[in-house]
Symmetry: C2
Subunit: 260 residues, 2 copies
């Protein structure tokens, strides 16, 4: 089932996407939700980021080739993280499918996409086990962890490198029925494929991360975990369109603009 | 004016604290708020963290003596950050005045307080200037940035060192009328003063931080920025009480328990 979050009568609304239409309703899908007696064409609605979480988690350095290529570019030894030490991103940076990624005028050319699967928590959880971890997941969506590489390398934290306004496109919707091992992530820049990788080929898998995190942290319904990316991306420039497809989930597409 | 957030009829409610009582009301103080026609004794309510922000910002290494002592303990040179690169903390860790800080059973003895002033944003803001930055602040409260030092030193991120459940006490309320230069922060462990410092004696001041952050980030009403701490703290252990007073704001007090 596909859950979109969109604007209706000026308010964020959840609805079920099927056959080119959205069935809106009242409530939050992972709490309680009641269908309204109407349908609206999917193309007529303004999509919103599929969730505004309490806490926005992000796994870094979580695919082997990405870690290897990043280390090679920096001229440092390849060190895969020994533990699933999760990081954070910020809500201000979230935008929806279709909205523009806006590169600040003082950013360098080194602004790159990172194609990620996003795990949406459905139930409050602490001390998860490998056996019950996925029972606490509501569904999955797609995230683009846009990064300005010179800020990432030079600042003490990732604040503007990864959390500048518009640097976190997410969507288009949440898919609840997913076979993780069958997923394939593809990125297309201006229609041309730039990378393709098995989505679930992570250094620390979803179950392992949720179990590790929930030893110390209570996960709340609506929290989300961005799972990291593979490979190395080209720079994005004004006028580009960046499309991330995860087969079985959907396609997240965003134009790129540079501030004048 | 002092705004407390507390539980009334099972719901988070904002009210004005004066003369030992709270005047509850409907709404959010920095949006719209209407007083109800009752008052409740302050001591009768269950306080909540004064705000659940969209994004939880935290300045690290923002007082000279704290940076110096931290470097000396690590045996590394003293390097004050050259720029106000802000960091992040997580909502799961927030607790209110009076609630217990719970040290996980596998934490070391090195669990320490960090006494901080917290800035609560009142108006949506981007590209703030030194002249208008403070006009966008709603008020101030107190935060305890509890930290497990071995995890802080050994993990790749600060996730469990600083964001373990209950590691972010905050409160007791938001004070809107504050003369920053007159504030003094004091910490008492079990009633005995362990540190005292001028609250506003920061490496990067509040105005400078808000201006720098808002070059790239939209600040939203209810967002908060924890401004860092001074000095070096002793370890906290089971049975202790940690009290942080900022004269002119209030006192945040929390007992310390260790998980069995």
């Amino acid at each position: 089932m596909r859950w979109a979050r969109f604007e209706m009568h000026g308010k964020p609304t959840y609805g079920i996407v099927a056959g080119g239409a959205i069935q809106p309703g009242i409530g939050i899908p992972w709490e309680s939700w009641e269908a309204a007696d109407t349908k609206v064409p999917f193309t007529s609605v303004k999509l919103l980021p599929p969730v505004i979480p309490m806490t926005f988690y992000a796994m870094g350095l979580n695919y082997v080739e990405h870690v290897t290529l990043t280390a090679q570019r920096k001229g440092v030894p390849v060190n895969l993280p020994p533990k699933a030490d999760v990081g954070y991103r910020a809500i201000n940076a979230l935008i929806a499918h279709g909205e523009p990624i806006i590169i600040p005028k003082d950013a360098t050319e080194e602004v790159q996409y990172e194609a990620e699967i996003v795990v949406i928590i459905g139930k409050k959880a602490k001390h998860l086990t490998p056996k019950n971890a996925l029972d606490h997941v509501f569904g999955y969506t797609i995230g683009n962890d846009v990064s300005e590489r010179t800020w990432q390398a030079g600042d003490r934290t990732l604040w503007r490198a990864k959390n500048t306004d518009t640097f976190k496109p997410m969507g288009p919707w949440i898919e609840t029925d997913v076979d993780l091992d069958k997923l394939v992530t593809r990125v297309r820049m201006n229609g041309k494929e730039t990378i393709k990788f098995p989505t679930n080929n992570m250094h620390f898998g979803i179950v392992e991360c949720l179990v590790a995190m929930s030893c110390y942290l209570t996960l709340h319904p609506g929290d989300m975990v961005w799972m990291g990316t593979e490979g190395h991306a080209p720079n994005m420039k004004h006028g580009d369109t960046c499309e991330i497809e995860i087969e079985g989930i959907g396609t997240l597409s965003n134009p790129v603009l540079r501030e004048l």
